[in-house]
Symmetry: C2
Subunit: 314 residues, 2 copies
DNA sequence: ATAAATAATGCTCCCAATGAGCATAAGGAG
DNA sequence: CTCCTTATGCTCATTGGGAGCATTATTTAT
């Protein structure tokens, strides 16, 4: 058909993006096709860099500038040959942060809270009931279905990644948790591939096509880990904000609540923000001072590191 | 010439590896061509995974198993078209840890201490004199050669990455430091490209071809960051070792000295090791107990995290 | 032998970071 | 005027980690 019979060591590059924004205290992700896909596009070789390639089609598709871009992972999917049936596809995924939402029409590029895909990851109002009620029991059943040594192994992994449903929750382990559920056949994506373990019905949470939910998990995990030592949330905030808004933003990303006074102490200890002089009383309660990020410090912390009151399990 | 006129969106994949081992308290890296290159090979599409591709040619080339493999970064070099002059090359680099050294003959695959490439990164015996004597002065000169605003910017970056030559050294910033030197035209690799800044002669440290020294810097940085929260040094140690040997290993990687008593406290607090019962008096001084890693805990920490007395600057 | 150097170990002290809460101030809604 | 909600200031207790003293056990030098 095509004039080029695709030499063996030649592949096509596909770029995937996890684009994150914050709206109404929800961490939003840009999706396509009714939420089933992450935006992705080919790497056109005229781009000098991979990053510039990403930026190009993302901005073309969303009409919004990307604040921060970071490479996530490169993956050669053995089960997804290119459409021409010849070349292998290597997908390179990126995490992108953007400040504003797509002003788009009703359809296609659509922002969705990432907790629709990973409802068990939201512990902002305390331990997610999903874990104790729905996930742990099914995982336990799965663990039972193995012989002694494998069972012990599975049980330990469950404990390490999901804790006990009330304590020992480590919000960074997004990817490990998804992979465990996948392996246990508790997400629809897994069942598609393995006709065998038709047993358990899936855990709540919207699936995606291909490995896109896995990529999303990777992005969330990376972002959650990152905010603990780099002030990247800066990229997601409007130019002015109150400290509570900032706290809610971090909580949205981390998926767990934080102590208000300690959060404030940490933030201004590090000199990350400065008051603009303005005051707002949009919310109820006592009016709050408005702040902005301090450019110099943010640049400095970009290399030196930040701290957030997020670390210990519980 | 070739029957396939290479369609535009087609690229060739090249795999690069930073292979690390520890010998005689030196962090060793496998190199080729008299130390000028990192091992690299093509990604043959018959491999199901990228990782398996890496493992395959690494083990073929070195005849040693890879303990731990981790993806580093994917990079499309705009300046290095494939040899056929048509396809773009995308290189995917990996970090690999191995316990044993190549038993190889005198030549080619050769292990070299990574401090030959980055001598300023070795602070194990205190502040590296190179930084204060050789690097900081030249960087200062470089900063002077810019107008006011850019100068301030450069000075801040110098301070952030190199500190002041005595304190505020952050061992993780290997890549940032290399990139700064590159930008300042203080490494030979940079001069090759820019004929202009022929000024300063380069800083000590052996260069590599292409961007391989940059990839190496990425690997070192990743490893240094990693040992602080994952017990990966486990992959580099022999089955039995003394606590001092373990400490020296970590110091070799981190490039800075550690407090002996505190190191021990931390290690056994976390239950990472257990005594084998053996005792050694290979070195001078009081004989030391031998330890081995505790498999269960190591697996557990692989997900949950570890601690090392490495964090603060100074 | 004896002294000196090198390592292994045990323990104490101190300080900075941080998790938790109490208390007070300042607006808006009924 | 009272209650509710949020902003802010401060205190307290705990802990993790940095430093260093002291002691013990061996090898090496004199």
């Amino acid at each position: 058909m095509t004039p080029s019979p695709a030499t063996p060591d030649t592949v096509a590059i596909e770029l995937n993006a996890v684009l994150v924004a914050l709206t109404a205290n929800q961490p939003q992700v840009l999706t396509l096709d009714d939420g089933a896909l992450l935006p992705s596009g080919p790497f056109a070789t005229e781009h000098p860099t991979l990053q510039s390639g990403v930026r190009a089609w993302v901005e073309r598709q969303t009409h919004h500038p990307l604040g921060y871009v970071e490479q996530l992972y490169t993956f050669a999917d053995p089960n997804r040959p290119a459409s021409d049936g010849q070349r292998r596809v290597v997908s390179i995924s990126y995490l992108g942060l953007t400040r504003e939402r797509l002003s788009a029409g009703p359809r296609d590029p659509e922002w969705r809270s990432w907790y629709r895909y990973f409802p068990w990851e939201d512990w902002r109002t305390g331990p997610s009931p999903l874990v104790a009620q729905s996930i742990l029991p099914r995982l336990a059943t799965w663990a039972e279905g193995a012989d002694a040594s494998a069972r012990r192994d599975r049980q330990q992994r469950i404990q390490m990644t999901f804790g006990d449903g009330l304590e020992n929750w480590n919000e960074d382990l997004v990817l490990q948790r998804y992979e465990l559920l996948y392996e246990a056949g508790l997400v629809p994506e897994a069942k598609a591939r393995e006709a065998k373990s038709a047993g358990a019905d899936p855990v709540p949470g919207m699936p995606m096509r291909h490995d896109h939910r896995r990529i999303l998990a990777t992005g969330i995990a990376r972002l959650r880990a990152k905010i603990k030592y780099r002030p990247v949330f800066f990229e997601l905030m409007p130019p002015e904000f109150t400290l509570l808004q900032l706290q809610r933003a971090v909580e949205a990303l981390a998926g767990r609540p934080m102590h208000k006074q300690n959060f404030r102490r940490l933030i201004d200890q590090q000199g990350l923000v400065e008051p603009t002089g303005g005051i707002t009383s949009e919310a109820r309660g006592r009016p709050a001072k408005l702040f902005r990020f301090r450019r110099e410090i943010v640049l400095e912390r970009a290399v030196a590191g930040t701290k957030l009151p997020l670390s210990r399990p519980l």
